[in-house]
Amino acid sequence: MQVIVCLKQILDPEMPSGSFHLDPKRKRAIPPPGTPPVLSPFDENALEAALRLKDGQGAKVIAVSLGDKLARAVVKKPLSAGADELVLLEDPDWEDLDHFASARILAAAIRKIGEFDLILTGRQAADWDAGLVGSALAEELGLGCVTLARKIEIIKDKVRVERVAPDGYEVVEALRPCVITVDSDLGELRQITMPGIFAAKKKPIREWKPADLELSSPAPARCELVDLYLPKRETVCEIIGGESPEEAALKLADKLFDKCPA
């Protein structure tokens, strides 16, 4: 069994709040000095899902990352976590791709890899928060797609997925191969260990450029980002003080009772 996991390198969503600045011309956030990029958290959940299939079913796990200026210590993390192979799609042309373009390129890379039973990725990337690539990837490859997975089980030629629902969960069965997007409910990526890092140094890494993939000429971007801005916040917070937190609490109670009676 072969499982492909797509992981995106993004600016660290947990950067100190003072480090978040926008580049108005490029309409992107500026890479914060002092905080390196990371793998998108939901993609790490997808990797965990794949590694559980490796533990349980002996699946082979191939990690794929697409972009430019890929930090090796970041994108090699799946190998340290237990993935078997890594495919890096790195090129300046692939720096700021829109979602449908990313899906096209990933699909081409996946076709080049050849065999796969499942393609896993995070439900959305923690930079653009769109949640489009996984679904678009399924459409590109003509596969079914199950989103928001919190549990994945292989049952003969199908896969049984528990999907997160607002008031519980849904159970869906899908034919393989298919694409599954994973939610954080599935569980955190296992801890990386030093032995894992050592073992990773011997694992194969393939690096592909646009010329290596069979890509038809790109279609023009369908969407245009016309503005990116920081929302203005006009609330002024009234801090309720006191000699002690306990005293402030009493004053707060009076205020709340006044503004928001039971």
Partner: protein, 428 residues
């Protein structure tokens, strides 16, 4: 407060390649055997590993002559405990910054996403569990189980807070020291509080490895927490913590309503005030190992910002004047005074002491990621202690103790390693 490698260009340019960074000052040397002061170049031999070599590398990086992604560069940069011996030696004769360009180089590489994979789990552990040791946060307060001490994680305030530090909290052997410290403080009548499971790392390792964003989060959080808990004094056993709190925390520009004190200083005070009586004789021949972070690295660092003027066509003068931190103002005497206060103790100094002390080898993330290098460095220190006839090395830092103990065991060397608190406990 983010470090910018460009701020140190002038320092890095002026390195004359005199090699003084590789040795303690000539006047301090006592033998050929223990005449070096930089573990990295002593071990790996190439100039790149010395302070001067690192200045050359840092300058090349700042000028865009080196590829940040080069793995060999990363090997050289991180095979270094950031002990600052090169800095103190250089400043014997000059006013160049050496240690801070080393920090800034690491910050530069990390910021560009070029960090070592081995550092990944350390940072991950800091984020998830508030410690760099990959231990669970919920276990952090365990060392204090059964102790009669105020646990601030359950509520309340305290004017004196004891910060045990990550290694003292989690290491089963070293946590005895934390327990003994609290017991000692309580018996001396100090109303001390601990944060139990809520205590979090000082951020020192994150800073030294170059993960500044991460460091800022920990430093700011600790300062806020201690301020909110009403602390007037924060006593720490963790020398790395002490060093970073004194040297770097003030750079964040946050008001610290408390004073940071190392346990050795506090014990010294208590003994002088007669609140702690040492009456048992300990007829042991001991030496004291100066932890880098308690010593030369604990001076408050004020980054110099100003203009350099050429006077008389050749002399460089700085406006405003620069305060040079040579490491002279570190905590050296309090631990020595405490040792000397132990009845019957025979105290001998090693050759490389105070601001020219030889690093134990654990710092800068080396113990966690390059244990063989750490153990070799510690082995050298043990040999030095043996050369002055010491039966025990007394020190005041959990990482030094861990590394020295591991090296003594691994190399079959007979040398006791004692924490200053353990010595005091034995002498009461």
């Amino acid at each position: 407060m983010l470090l910018d490698l460009n701020d140190y260009r002038n320092d890095m340019k002026r390195c004359a390649r005199c090699s003084i960074c590789k040795w303690p000052p000539l006047a301090q040397m006592k033998s050929w055997r223990f005449s070096q002061n930089c573990p990295a170049i002593s071990r790996f031999n190439f100039h790149a590993y010395s302070g001067g070599g690192r200045m050359a590398l840092g300058l090349a990086l700042a000028e865009g002559k080196l590829d940040e992604t080069d793995e060999e560069l990363s090997n050289i940069v991180y095979r270094c405990t950031a002990c600052g011996a090169c800095d103190s030696s250089c400043k014997y004769n000059s006013e160049l910054e050496v240690l801070w360009p080393i920090y800034a180089t690491r910050a530069r590489l990390v910021g560009a996403g070029c960090f070592r994979e081995e550092h990944g789990p350390i940072i991950e552990s800091l984020r998830r569990e508030d410690n760099p040791l990959m231990k669970s946060k919920s276990e952090r307060g365990r060392w204090a189980e059964g102790l009669d001490v105020k646990d601030l994680s359950k509520g309340g305030q305290a004017e004196v807070i004891y910060h045990a530090g990550c290694l003292y909290s989690f290491d089963p052997e070293l946590s005895k020291v934390a327990r003994e410290t609290v017991t000692l403080l309580r018996s001396a009548g100090v109303e001390v509080g601990i944060r139990g499971a809520q205590e979090s790392c000082c951020g020192s390792m994150a800073f030294q490895l170059g993960f500044q964003g991460e460091f800022i989060k920990f430093a700011e959080s600790n300062i806020d927490d201690w301020n909110a808990l009403g602390a007037r004094k924060v006593i720490t056993s963790c020398a790395c913590g002490y060093g970073i709190m004194k040297a770097v925390y003030p750079l964040l520009g946050k008001k610290m309503k408390f004073e940071v004190v190392h346990i050795s200083q506090y014990l010294d005070e208590l003994i002088r005030e007669g609140k702690l009586q040492l009456s048992k004789k300990i007829p042991l021949r001991v030496t004291y190992h100066d932890p880098c972070n308690l010593g030369r690295k604990s001076e408050e660092y004020v980054p110099w910002k100003g203009i350099e003027k050429k006077v008389l066509g050749q002399l460089i003068v700085r406006e405003p004047e620069k305060t040079v931190h040579r490491g002279w103002e570190g905590v050296y005497d309090p631990p020595r005074d405490v040792i000397r206060a132990v009845p019957g103790i025979k105290f001998v100094e090693m050759e490389r002491i105070r601001e020219y002390a030889w690093c134990c080898g654990a710092g800068g993330g080396v113990k966690t990621t390059m244990d063989d290098f750490a153990l070799w460095t510690a082995g050298e220190r043990i040999a030095e202690a043996q050369s002055v006839g010491a039966e025990a090395i007394v020190t005041a830092c959990s990482w030094c103790e861990r590394n020295l103990k591991d090296a003594a065991a691994a190399q079959g060397k007979k040398m006791q390693v004692l924490d200053i608190v353990e010595l005091v406990k034995q002498a009461r």
